[in-house]
């Protein structure tokens, strides 16, 4: 016996965590400063496994940080800068109060500033880490670059964001890295592949923002501060990886072309450069004069049988990607003034097309409307007064759909005044059993190189196909469900029977004895198997049964959702058809 009694909460998990308030006190920072520090350093709270233990027996709701994280924050030089800034503000206030303007001026000159370079380096020790985390940075910068230069944040920040995003877009053009584009109701999603990383960002549509009041812009500004620094360094590195000059310079030829134009019409000299860059029409100049694209072919390694297939698949994919990169090569686009210029110019240039617009829309247009060599004229209005014969007048969705389908889609569906086909998300990858909209099937057929037949016939066929598909789906369902519970199968059987009878088809039961037995055999076998499975499920352990039930529940819900979508589609198509018929009559 003997020894001291062990005290509670002096060891173990209670000592590994620290509440937010304690952390703040330890760092001697105000809450906003602490928040800023956490944002900049990427420190987030932790959820302890045993909350009550960590909370020293209390069950009150608290935010916990790892003590290690807070210790790590203590050594951050920026904390010192925060304190300096606090002192600076105090001095400034005092000087104002005493109306000592010279002191104010002197203080302002010595306003403490800090740099985030070391934090970036620390948070992303390798370049690839930074690249992986660039999504949010891009989204934020693109948002800030669309802000009006009023009030909500510093003008310099907005300008910097604009500059960085323009640089980013120019890089993506130069590297031809864009893969997918999606027009959503929120904005335009882009996905690019940069150094093997898929990077997705969202750009809002070009409208003035209705600034909400319940948003803390200080938090956003802190994030932007970090993100601009990060994006700048990433841009620098990326430009150098392509042998481009970093503060990007336009190609000499393009530059001179642009100079010819009356510059004074546009921006001030200082802004002119950025404007030209953001026009996205000219290529960038390289450090080493551009050589022919050296195609780094995949080296053939001698491999065993299994891997060759993979290799082939990879090769095929590479080829497809190469083809996609040259999707718009040789095409000349002209953008009418009502279409979103920046987005379209960006996308078209990413795939090797040439693009121009009206001179008054933006600087950097290359050719006029009257140019005879224009192949596609992108218009977003019901009709155009003066049409040239040797070009297609199409709606902007064509460009995006082509990019996503990786082939040039037939232009007929996208002519002016035509009801557009639905715009599908390229990010959805349907697995087996998921609902696939028929438009996607069509595009997939086109990708495989199948030619669609004549409109009318095709329609009919498709409908039939659809019907068949539906039936198949239903049958599949039956299988899935039947394995589980007989009641459900019965229900579904009933349903299918009803449906069949309602469709006016004869029931599948036939009178001839021979056939019936054949069917029965198969059926019996199936039933036997189903019963076997059911009996086996009975014997599951309780824990596994729970998991199994959960998985099956999820599966069933998925199937239900898919069926619902299919049913909705069918109802819609039927309604359309009946409408058409009425119109014909």
């Amino acid at each position: 016996m003997g020894g001291l009694q062990k005290k509670k909460f002096e060891r173990g998990s209670a000592t590994n965590y620290i509440t937010r308030n304690k952390a703040r006190k330890k760092l001697q920072l105000s809450l906003p400063d602490f928040r800023r520090l956490c944002i900049l350093k990427g420190i987030y709270p932790h959820e302890p496994k045993h909350k009550k233990k960590v909370n020293k027996g209390s069950t009150a709701q608290r935010t916990f940080y790892m003590l290690k994280d807070i210790r790590f924050l203590m050594h951050e030089p920026i904390v010192g800068k925060f304190r300096d800034y606090k002192v600076f503000v105090r001095k400034l206030k005092k000087a104002y109060g005493k109306t000592e303007w010279s002191a104010v001026e002197r203080l302002r000159e010595n306003k403490p500033t800090y740099k985030l370079d070391h934090i970036i380096k620390e948070r992303y020790p390798a370049f690839i880490d930074a690249l992986r985390d660039i999504d949010d940075a891009l989204c934020m910068c693109f948002l800030f670059s669309t802000f009006a230069r009023t009030g909500k944040c510093h003008v310099q920040t907005i300008q910097l964001c604009r500059r960085l995003t323009v640089e980013w877009m120019n890089f993506v053009i130069a590297s031809r890295g864009l893969r997918k584009v999606f027009l959503s109701i929120k904005g335009i999603y882009y996905q690019a592949e940069v150094m093997g990383q898929l990077i997705t960002w969202l750009v809002p549509y070009q409208f003035a923002h209705d600034h909400p009041t319940d948003v803390d812009y200080r938090v956003m500004a802190t994030f932007t501060e970090l993100y601009t620094t990060l994006l700048g360094f990433v841009n620098f590195r990326l430009y150098h990886s392509l042998n481009l000059l970093y503060p990007p310079k336009l190609d000499g030829k393009a530059m001179s072309e642009l100079k010819e134009e009356d510059e004074d019409d546009y921006a001030m000299n200082s802004e002119c450069y950025l404007e030209k860059l953001s026009a996205l029409s000219a290529s960038l100049s390289r450090v080493v004069s551009a050589t022919e694209e050296e195609d780094a072919e995949l080296d053939q390694f001698p491999v065993e049988g299994e891997d060759t297939e993979k290799m082939e698949a990879r090769e095929r994919e590479q080829k497809q990607q190469e083809a996609q990169k040259k999707l718009f090569e040789g095409l000349k686009f002209y953008l009418n003034r009502e279409v979103p210029r920046e987005s379209l110019a960006f996308v078209i240039r990413c795939f090797g097309g040439e693009v121009s617009w009206d001179k008054s829309v933006c600087i950097g247009s290359k050719y006029e409307v009257t140019d005879e060599t224009i192949t596609h004229h992108i218009v977003d209005r019901p009709n155009v007064d003066k049409q040239y014969i040797n070009r297609y007048y199409i709606q902007p969705q064509w460009v995006y759909d082509c990019v996503n389908a990786k082939i040039r889609l037939p232009v007929e569906d996208y002519f002016l005044g035509v009801t557009l086909p639905p715009h599908l998300s390229p990010f959805v990858e349907e697995k087996e059993g998921d609902y696939v909209p028929p438009e996607k099937l069509k595009i997939m057929a086109l990708q495989r190189g199948e030619k669609p037949a004549n409109e009318q016939e095709e329609d009919e066929e498709e409908e039939e196909d659809d019907d068949e598909d539906d039936e198949e789906e239903e049958e599949e369902e039956e299988d899935d469900g039947g394995n589980d519970e007989e009641e459900e199968t019965e229900e579904q059987n009933l349903k299918t029977m009803q449906e069949q009878s309602s469709q006016g088809k004869s029931l599948q039961v036939k009178v001839t004895p021979g056939k019936v037995t054949v069917e029965n055999k198969a059926r019996l076998e199936q039933e036997e198997k189903a019963e076997e499975k059911r009996l086996a499920i009975m014997m599951m352990k309780r824990k596994e049964k729970y998991l199994f039930d959960k998985i099956m529940f999820g599966k069933k819900r998925k199937i239900r959702e898919a069926n619902k979508l299919a049913a909705k589609r069918k109802a819609h198509d039927d309604a359309e058809k009946s409408k058409k018929k009425k119109a014909r009559k």
Partner: protein, 685 residues
């Protein structure tokens, strides 16, 4: 000539407009004059009744020309009113309007001009517009051209004097040129040539501050914020391991078809879905937005919650705890245990082959004779029926006069007796359905020596049946003090146990010896509500099941051997695996069956049964199904017995929420009988 005409002809006067404008400054007979006090120029005019002050807007210059003041007609008409600057209406009632220099009255003009005169004057007099009425003297003054010019100039805001140059060069008295002579003759102060102490103090303070580093030199403008360089020029892995396990934030989920500006029609909300969406709390919604369709890109509006969403993402990034969640990626097929195929475990009952109909109420109990030829059943309609198994013929119907709780066949193949429990009576029947030897042996057993009276404390009374009952085959009656629920034979066929469940008394189980017609109460104390009892088929053990536990008593040693706790809510029946010798294992299997059965059936289990020969057991439940399982018991006792459910037998119809009530196996064949609430007995083979 034209000009003359113009001047003379007042009616078409070019100045008529001017005259109109000045028409309210009427003048009558009085003479007027310009009062020039200081630098403000007033023209004071008299009306009939009052004064009207006309302020000329500009400030007059000091330089008033002499000739202007000495207007010619002022000099000529030397009429000066000496009353001073007073309201002239004070003189309204007098014939005069003041006094001249000599002190004589100045009289008003004799005849006042009336409106008509005025009008005529206005029409005819070309000089009317420049005529001014002098209130002081009551006379009328016609302004000369110079005076009119002067008035115009003043009104325009110019100097009165035409010749005055307002832009003449100014003389610079205090210029940058150093004058040769000092301005003052005063000698300079001493302080002007010795250094200032105050300044010295200030400077020394500044110097001190600089020395101490309090004042920093002006910072060189740092432009390095927007300049970038190759931050990752030297990628060293040393930092990588420096700090903690960092979890990168999860990326934003990618948008699906329903976020498109032009989605396929099936992704749009129907009216109901929309209504539902609007009703739901924002946190419950599956989609945070309503899918919308626009016919062209031009019509897509700004997304109102864009900044919100970005902000929420920011909050997530720095406020949300991160955790690595291991996702179980299990193929559900793998979870299903691999069991031997039921086909390989045959024989077991698969098909319903016979239905025994005849009872008119639900059948509580069935029992198969040890030979396997007869089946006895007891029903709520007050009858016990005996069926031939193979033909499903009802061989005998015995009216017993009460709902039958239990029917059991004596397990001894040498006798043919049936025990029936109803109300508070246990009946011993001799159905006489075997060969003569067997019948006679059973009669012999019944006759026995009617030895002693039953012990008093049991309360059981033995009596012999008479008359009609005897004809039906009822031989003995054992009256119990309470309702009997169950009756069980010992394997030898001489003893039988009856159960009277009652929580309050210790008299729950009675053991009767048939040959000596004796009853005894084995338990002194009440150990809970007894559900069922049973003898071990081979060994001298007695099992008593209360609601949640099973007690095992050794009949030889007269002591409790073991107590087993079941994890089910209610033990309703027991059955034994007869092949096995060891007690513990037997019971183990019993409990396992109970357990399993509870899981397999959806409702309460009514009965369980083991096959005597085959490793089969069956369970009946209120959900109307009978599950047949195949159990393999390994000789190695450490290995759990393998139990494979092989068949779910359905056939009974649910009536009054009751399904199958009892289940038994055929003693030799792999057949199972089940009796149900639908008044039938079914045979599955």
């Amino acid at each position: 000539p034209e000009e003359d005409e113009d001047l003379s002809d007042s009616e078409d006067s070019v100045y008529s407009g001017l005259e109109d404008s000045g028409s309210d400054s009427e003048e009558d007979e009085e003479d007027g004059f310009f009062n020039v006090p200081g630098d403000v120029f007033h023209a004071v005019l008299n009306h009939y009744s009052g004064f009207c002050w006309v302020f000329l807007p500009t400030r007059l210059p000091r330089f008033f020309s002499k000739d202007m003041l000495m207007c010619p007609f002022l000099v000529l008409q030397d009429i000066r009113n000496t009353v001073g600057n007073i309201p002239m209406e004070w003189y309204r009632d007098f014939p005069h309007i003041g006094y001249d220099l000599d002190g004589k009255k100045i009289y008003k003009p004799i005849r006042n001009k009336d409106e008509l005169d005025d009008f005529l004057d206005k029409m005819e007099n070309p000089d009317y517009w420049r005529t001014v009425h002098d209130n002081q003297t009551g006379s009328v003054i016609v302004l000369s051209d110079e005076q009119v010019e002067l008035v115009n100039r003043l009104q325009r805001g110019q100097f009165g004097d035409i010749n005055f140059n307002e832009y003449q060069p100014s003389v610079e008295y205090f210029s940058s040129d150093v004058m040769i002579h000092p301005v003052t003759n005063r000698p300079e102060d001493k302080r002007s040539f010795i250094p200032s102490l105050v300044e010295k103090e200030k400077v020394s303070k500044l110097v001190h501050a600089i020395k101490m580093g309090w004042i920093k030199p002006r910072r060189v403008e740092d432009n390095s914020r927007g300049t970038f360089y190759d931050l990752w020029a030297s990628e060293d892995s040393s930092i990588l391991s420096k700090h903690r396990m960092h979890l990168p934030a999860p990326k934003i989920p990618l948008p699906g078809h329903n976020e498109s500006y032009n989605p396929p029609p099936e992704y749009l909300f129907t009216d109901e879905e929309r209504a539902l969406w609007e009703q739901q709390d924002p946190s419950d919604r599956k989609l945070p937005y309503v899918p919308m369709k626009f016919s062209s890109l031009r019509q897509v509006p700004a997304f109102p919650r864009f900044i919100h969403e970005r902000f929420e993402r920011c909050l997530d990034l720095y406020l949300c705890p991160r955790q690595r969640k291991m996702r179980v990626n299990v193929n559900p097929e793998d979870l299903i245990p691999k069991l031997p195929k039921p086909k390989d475990l045959q024989p077991f009952p698969t098909v319903q082959s016979l239905v025994y109909r005849g009872h008119s109420s639900l059948i509580r109990s069935i029992s198969v004779s040890p030979s396997g030829q007869w089946l006895a059943s007891g029903s709520d309609d007050g009858t016990v029926r005996i069926w031939e198994v193979c033909s499903s013929r009802c061989m005998k119907t015995i009216q017993v006069g009460g709902a039958v709780k239990t029917v059991t066949w004596n397990p001894n193949p040498a006798v043919c007796l049936l025990a029936v429990a109803l109300n508070s009576v246990v009946l011993i029947l001799s159905p006489a359905l075997a060969d003569r030897q067997v019948v006679s042996s059973s009669e012999r057993l019944l006759l026995g020596d009617q030895e002693a009276e039953a012990a008093e404390d049991t309360g059981a009374v033995w009596s012999e049946a008479e008359g009609e009952e005897l004809n039906q085959g009822i031989r003995l009656k054992v009256h119990h003090p309470k309702a009997v629920h169950q009756v069980v034979w010992h394997a030898k066929g001489d003893y039988l146990a009856s159960v009277m469940p009652d929580n309050s008394s210790h008299l729950q189980v009675l053991i009767h010896q048939l040959s000596r017609r004796r009853s005894q109460n084995p338990f002194r104390r009440n150990k809970g509500l007894v559900q069922c009892v049973s003898f071990h088929p081979v060994r001298p053990y007695f099992f008593v099941a209360t609601q949640r536990s099973v007690r095992i008593y050794n009949l030889v040693k007269q002591e409790m051997t073991k107590k087993l706790q079941a994890n089910s809510k209610w033990i309703s029946s027991m059955a034994f695996y007869p092949v096995c010798g060891s007690v513990s294992l037997t019971v183990l299997i019993v409990l396992i069956t109970c357990h399993l059965i509870c899981r397999h059936h959806k409702k309460a289990v009514r009965g369980v049964a083991y096959h005597r020969v085959y490793p089969l057991f069956a369970s009946a439940s209120d959900d109307g199904s009978v599950i047949v399982c195949h159990g393999t018991v390994y000789n190695d006792l450490l290995q759990n017995p393998l139990i494979v459910p092989v068949k779910v037998l359905r056939g009974h119809v649910m009536t009054h929420d009751l399904g199958v009530l009892d289940v038994t196996f055929h003693p030799t064949q792999p057949w199972v009988f089940s009796s149900g609430a639908d008044n039938t007995i079914r045979l599955f083979t």
